[in-house]
Symmetry: C2
Subunit: 627 residues, 2 copies
């Protein structure tokens, strides 16, 4: 038997109510031209540059100050420790996938600084030290102590799984034990203002088998809706969790909370939790999610809006919220094995999340509008810098989201050219995916079991796909192939067996629910998992906000290696209407001045916008209607 | 010489830098079928019902508690006194226009309760009494003490002008003197978190001639931008007033502040103030005002949004903000005599303001969306009840906004069937307007000087009008008649002279600046000063959000006495598109299912929406574009 890694993104291998078990990051080697270059950039640019900024902004200093190595005032925001933890987690995933002495040294050194700042009682938070020590655990709603603790625990778990050094994990257990001494059925009551620790504690339980961590996570969920943190929807404290109907509040908090609740469900099987989660999922996907998978439409409170409140220009759609959306749908997928969760996960990952980082890997969006007049640009950093290290850990862990295992076999969620080394009931099975996905929907999967074996391969047939085709060793699959479901292929697999999956990638005109008034008479172009936008730089002859796509315009997709490091662009014939208008906000329509002229337009994937010269952009394009 | 009233809305008769002087409310007797029935409803329903609610909600009790008449805790919000003051001001204007013993008794009794609650040092605020007394003037930013004081002073001025009893005015002066002892060049520094007192103090200066009140108002303006109240744009404290470029912050605060600054300008002539005011006016009208004259588009902070951020469904557009818009433009008009301010004033009055009250005069909108799915309805009251008494005082003072005087003659701003009794250079001139405005643009003005006299009559030619015509005694006016300007008719006026003004009221299709993405390919119907909307109840055969107006659809305007107490409805042929869509937010466009069928539609004035059965509504209607 080969030696497999253990750097799971979420380890459900012993979770009694999870349908699927995940596959460690180490076991999947990317060989593609989409994600692999991004992960290389992560190694070479993103992670080193983020660490440099940690040094520059006092984030490392804060730990050194507490350990006594340096003197001075605490620097930055009170939850800045969490950025460092997320970076450690990202680096751990990165190291699991690709060894690097340099990166290892940087992480080890960072962890030394962190660990030196831990109190002997297990407490760890550089803000609440010295004169602030007496304020520890006094304001769970606002001060993000449990949030920071959760991120440290997650970082420690990823590091332990990737590197195998137990010291950091022990520190995380000491912190968790410390929290468990203070809170819980026998301690103080409470629940965090910013959820995060719930999923961390469940994962720590999965790793250590210590049931009290699971119980503490459940305790925090059970304490919601009691008014302990103000009773407001913003904090998702207005109702007990199991009674929630509508997804509300700060989007990242809301969806991190759902992640924790899903993790608890996978351990306890409590139906009331799953029922609530499904209601929240419907509320989100049917009323409150952008076509990009972005969530949390409002600037106010970085929160979910009312149903159908999805403005384009003033979309908030925080990068962290799209990441949370991936994390939650991943957990729902593990819990249920249902493809609808993989569909949302893929959508958010390729669009809402990926737009959050520049092609050069060193600039970030916090806010992700769906239309812009050229003023919104990625920044090198933010004072509140939750998004940059969060996108780093998401990118670093991509190999862990491609496959899962179940009692019957292997599930393929994402199509990425890669080699996977799997253990199916004790039999080594290598899977080689050959594909240019997401640019092309032709996927060839070579199945290489160490010996002939009967098991199932579940192919995800994306919900966006029409007329998918599957061949096994040149022979068409016999069962119906349904988009939005997994196709189970159970057979005696022999070394060298080949699956050929064709997911035709048509350029699709997507329309929005008519209750979103802003998107009336507009279409968004999609192709495969990618949402497209028109950006000014590609369309110098007209204002992209003036573009009107007639219904029967032929739309072509074409690989262009010269654009944005190589993307498939969509182009076609359309019209541009007159955008002339004076300074006045309103004027009487002057029919004699309405002009519309034929133009050729080019659209690019949304994730790649704002990487070139400034200019307008829109995802939703006016579409021609005529009587 | 006849005896004229003195209940000015703003008394600029001695203001050296005002172009125009206003005409007291008493001097204009409405005889129309638009405003007069509303003012009757105000007398019969609105004012009595509001007073009843004051009794029910403890607003009167709060005064009785401080005077020792009753015992118990302060009830409601800390600024609830201001609602009572606004009501007194409304009642004073109402009494100026139409005597009523019953209303007079109610006001007098209310004023007794108020005056009994005033401290011997002049202080008046029922929240800051007893145990809260030590907190007086300790938090100018949040506690609305100066705001409440401003409203008391305005109420007292209006009451004194209307009724002539000096006791209440003396109380207002005592309060102003008390404030002047505490603040000002020789006292404490400070500026109010909620502007209001500035215009009250200037008006008190105008009435009493006491210059310290004007200086104190200027002191409060001069103190902005120094960080005394936090330095935030929300409070318009981020910059010195004279350096402001963009209108920002809480809309009512922002525009009340501009009212105060305009009042100060009219007394001091300071150019830097006027320059700032003009910049703010351009910022508002060119980037941040709804087509209804509503302002403050954001729920967040009830504030102005970024440029072109004017959502329809989630419009905030507080009724008080539209009222503030009228008040500010009125002052700018008095200061400059420029018709553009009258245009905005009229627009906001007939649309943004008037939508704030139900036809029965007892229900109110706080928030005024421009599109709705049938859930937004007027309420009998609000916990924060600033809007109901504010709209009452606006309606009660309407007769005062119709005319002004200048050194050369009389200015007609609004067209309303009415009789006005004016004093032009010591000569009594009666003006009788005969018109069905706003339903019809035919206006006949009979000029009745007590003797032949040479003076000018300035007719406002509204900016919305095309091809206006003016006849004097059947003879066409010779000078060019320009919409958006005043037409000066200077001549020897004889008793019985007649002006015939025709402002053709076409149904106009209004388009919006293309930077407001939500209004792309939409038109708003306007006719005369009125903005129209389509409401579901008038259009049972299709969803009003699905209505598409083709460019050449003939639109008819027709008086319908059966609808909404009689309104001019607009109707025509149009199309309705398919609104069928599943639960899903997004789906692939299915061209074979797009249906569009011919319909007849009916539109009603926006101000009258939501007075019948619940249903959808939109101001901006999809408009057909075709290549």
């Amino acid at each position: 038997m080969k030696c497999y890694g253990k750097t799971f993104v979420v380890d459900t291998s012993k979770s009694p109510y999870a349908k699927l078990r995940s596959v460690p990051v180490e076991n999947v080697q990317l060989e593609d031209s989409f994600w692999l270059p991004r992960i290389s950039t992560l190694h070479e640019k993103t992670l080193p540059s983020q660490h440099r900024i940690f040094e520059e902004t006092g984030r490392i200093f804060n730990f050194q100050r507490v350990s006594g190595k340096k003197k001075g005032e605490f620097k930055g925001l009170y939850f800045n420790d969490s950025d460092v933890y997320k970076w450690v987690e990202a680096a751990a995933f990165a190291l699991a996938n690709k060894k690097s002495d340099e990166l290892y040294k940087l992480v080890r050194q960072t962890l030394s600084e962190i660990l030196s700042a831990q109190d002997c009682d297990g407490y760890l938070n550089t803000y609440f030290s010295f004169e602030k020590k007496k304020e520890r655990w006094s304001n769970l709603r606002d001060m993000h102590e449990l949030y920071c603790a959760g991120h440290f625990i997650q970082a420690a778990i990823a590091y332990y799984r990737a590197i195998g050094e137990k010291e950091v994990l022990d520190a995380a257990c000491r912190l968790a034990d410390h929290i468990n001494k203070i809170f819980g059925p026998n301690g103080r009551t409470g629940t965090p203002g910013h959820p995060e620790i719930e999923m961390a504690l469940v994962e720590l339980y999965r790793l250590t088998g210590m049931k009290e961590y699971l119980e503490l996570a459940k305790f925090f969920i059970d304490n919601r809706g009691k008014g302990l943190i103000g009773g407001n929807p913003y904090h998702i404290d207005h109702k007990p969790f199991r009674e929630l109907e509508e997804i509300v509040g700060h989007a990242v908090r809301s969806v991190y909370l759902n992640c924790g609740a899903t993790d608890i469900y996978m351990e306890t099987g409590e139906k009331a939790l799953l029922d609530a989660l499904l209601r929240l999922w419907h509320s989100m996907t049917e009323h409150k999610m952008y076509v990009t998978g972005g969530i949390g439409s409002l600037y106010t409170g970085e929160s979910f809006g009312m149903d159908y409140d999805l403005p384009n220009v003033t979309a908030y759609a925080e990068t962290c919220a799209a990441i949370a959306n991936v994390m939650w749908n991943w957990r729902m997928l593990l819990a249920t094995g249902e493809a609808r969760f993989a569909d949302v996960m893929e959508l958010a990952l390729y669009n809402g999340v990926l737009a959050g980082i520049s092609l050069d890997g060193e600039k970030y969006f916090y806010v992700n509008p769906l239309a812009d007049r050229g003023t919104h640009r990625r920044q090198r950093w933010f004072r509140c810098a939750c998004c940059p290290p969060n996108i780093a850990r998401m990118l670093a862990s991509i190999p862990g989201y491609i496959y899962s295992l179940s009692s019957k076999g292997v599930w393929i969620h994402l199509y990425v050219q890669s080699r996977a080394y799997l253990d199916i009931h004790g039999i080594s099975v290598d899977l080689f995916q050959k594909t240019r996905y997401p640019w092309n929907g032709e996927i060839e999967i070579q199945v290489q079991p160490e010996e002939e074996a009967t098991f199932s391969i579940y192919l995800r047939i994306p919900g966006w796909c029409r007329r998918p085709r599957v061949f096994i060793n040149e022979e068409a699959a016999k069962q119906p192939i349904k988009p939005g479901e997994y196709l189970e292929i159970q057979r005696l697999w022999k070394p060298g067996d080949r699956i050929k999956l064709t997911l035709p990638m048509l350029v699709e005109r997507t329309v929005c629910h008519p209750y979103v008034m802003e998107n009336h008479d507009r279409v968004a172009l999609k192709r495969g998992p990618l949402v497209y936008c028109v950006e000014q730089i590609d369309n110098p002859e007209f204002d992209v906000w003036a573009l009107v796509l007639p219904p029967n315009s032929r739309l072509e997709a074409r690989w262009d290696p010269a654009v944005l490091n190589g993307v498939v662009v969509i182009s076609g014939e359309a019209y541009a209407v007159d955008m002339k208008h004076g300074r006045e906000l309103y004027r009487v329509e002057d029919r004699s001045h309405i002009e519309m002229h034929k133009v050729r337009f080019t659209a690019i994937p949304y994730f790649a916008w704002a990487n070139r010269n400034q200019g307008s952009m829109t995802v939703w394009i006016r579409s021609l209607i005529s009587a």
